[in-house]
Assembly symmetry: C2
Homo-oligomer: 242 residues x 2
């Protein structure tokens, strides 16, 4: 059976302006590979309601799961929850379970919720809260869309809550063999290997270190014995090209 698939929608002008380097898509990619969910697309869009709605609807119909990152805080530029509700045609308002979490978290710091902070308890009808230890403001899942924070430490905490609840696939394993020659020198035997073992993906990643043009070959798949066989073949190629 093929693995479940996923996409992540990163929402944030700060990524597109180059101010911030994305960390959440990178973290998600590693975690999904570990549990056997195939990440098929990363998309970064600005803080724009209509663009977010269109992207949510395109991605949720194409993949088993959609994760979002960013735009669920208390300020005017936090528009993700409303956009996700609109994408599902769902109502959205402050929900009592989310408000209780938020107020408890603020109370622990001796504060009460401002009207702006209460915006973080706006949850679409029918959604399930993503509770986490780091932030009193929960994320939420609605249908196959999991809406999480943009702050990397909170994104990680929310993903730790969500991931164990999802059906896992066969973990995607990989092996890497390093060649001290450019990829042009090994392209032919690699092509033969890829054709002979269609169950595996064979990736070729050139690198340069000073004067050395080298290539890392990564084989990926779910069958450990097959990967061992591929590595053995790669080591034969390595012995030939030196």
């Amino acid at each position: 059976m093929p693995n479940p698939t996923a996409a992540i929608l990163v929402i944030g002008d700060e990524i597109l302006s180059g101010r911030t380097r994305d960390a959440n898509a990178y973290h998600l990619a590693g975690e999904l590979t570990r549990v056997g969910i195939d990440l098929r697309e990363i998309r970064v869009v600005p803080d724009d309601h209509d663009v977010i709605v269109a992207a949510i609807n395109a991605l949720r119909s194409a993949y088993t799961h959609v994760f979002t990152s960013g735009g669920i805080g208390p300020t005017h530029d936090d528009i993700t929850a409303d956009a996700v509700a609109a994408a599902f045609g769902a109502g959205i308002d402050v929900r009592e379970d989310a408000r209780a979490l938020l107020e408890a978290s603020l109370a622990a710091r001796g504060r009460t919720a401002t009207p702006d902070q209460l915006r973080m308890a706006r949850i679409p009808d029918g959604a399930t809260l993503i509770v986490n230890d780091l932030s009193g403001a929960p994320g939420f899942s609605i249908g196959n869309v999991h809406v999480m924070a943009g702050v990397p430490s909170i994104f990680v905490a929310m993903l730790d809550t969500v991931l164990p609840t999802l059906e896992a696939g066969a973990p995607r394993l990989s092996r890497e063999v390093r060649f001290a020659v450019g990829e042009g020198r090994i392209a032919s035997p690699l092509r033969e290997l890829a054709e002979a073992m269609p169950q595996l993906s064979v990736g070729s990643y050139p690198f340069r270190e000073g004067d050395l043009y080298g290539t890392n070959i990564v084989v990926r798949g779910t069958d450990e014995a097959l990967l061992d066989e591929a590595v053995a073949r790669l080591e034969e190629i390595l012995a030939e090209v030196g």
Copy 2:
């Protein structure tokens, strides 16, 4: 006049598997901001012909420019050039100008081109080469699509070739003010600021350093005087919340 817009399509299983953290979209974002081209979308897709063709066609009709990163080497998993040609309905074959560049570069290292290496001289009909100092294998531009290497140093060199040829917009400037309070405490005055100055975008980026919950406010726009005014207002807010 609004600034030109852009998207980048990053092609590579290695990003989606979490093996590699993207560097090229991040570099491009900073460079485009500098020259006043608005990056509106980042999309990462796997090494899959049909998916790449569909993404190229979606993005090139939506934005002024599309940049691609990855998949133009000599190995079986390098399928970008053919996918771009297919997206444009253009023929593709080894082109003499590209072959000459490639062979000169190999000759400088005492080598001749293998048939696999010659794949890197496959250029769609009607494309313009993107020549660069680092790699003998050129990128190319066809229509509004600029096809560049995935190896970050070569991506940077190719972008340095392409960017000066594109019509620039008004550089997008930004100013940042740091608040030692969480964003919930300043959401109301920020909303007022954003509403009062619709020509600017006002972004709110919470952070946590140990026990401190803080917020960086970034105002972006093209008018320096307006940005100065926004910073003055932010400093008044800062004085109020302490």
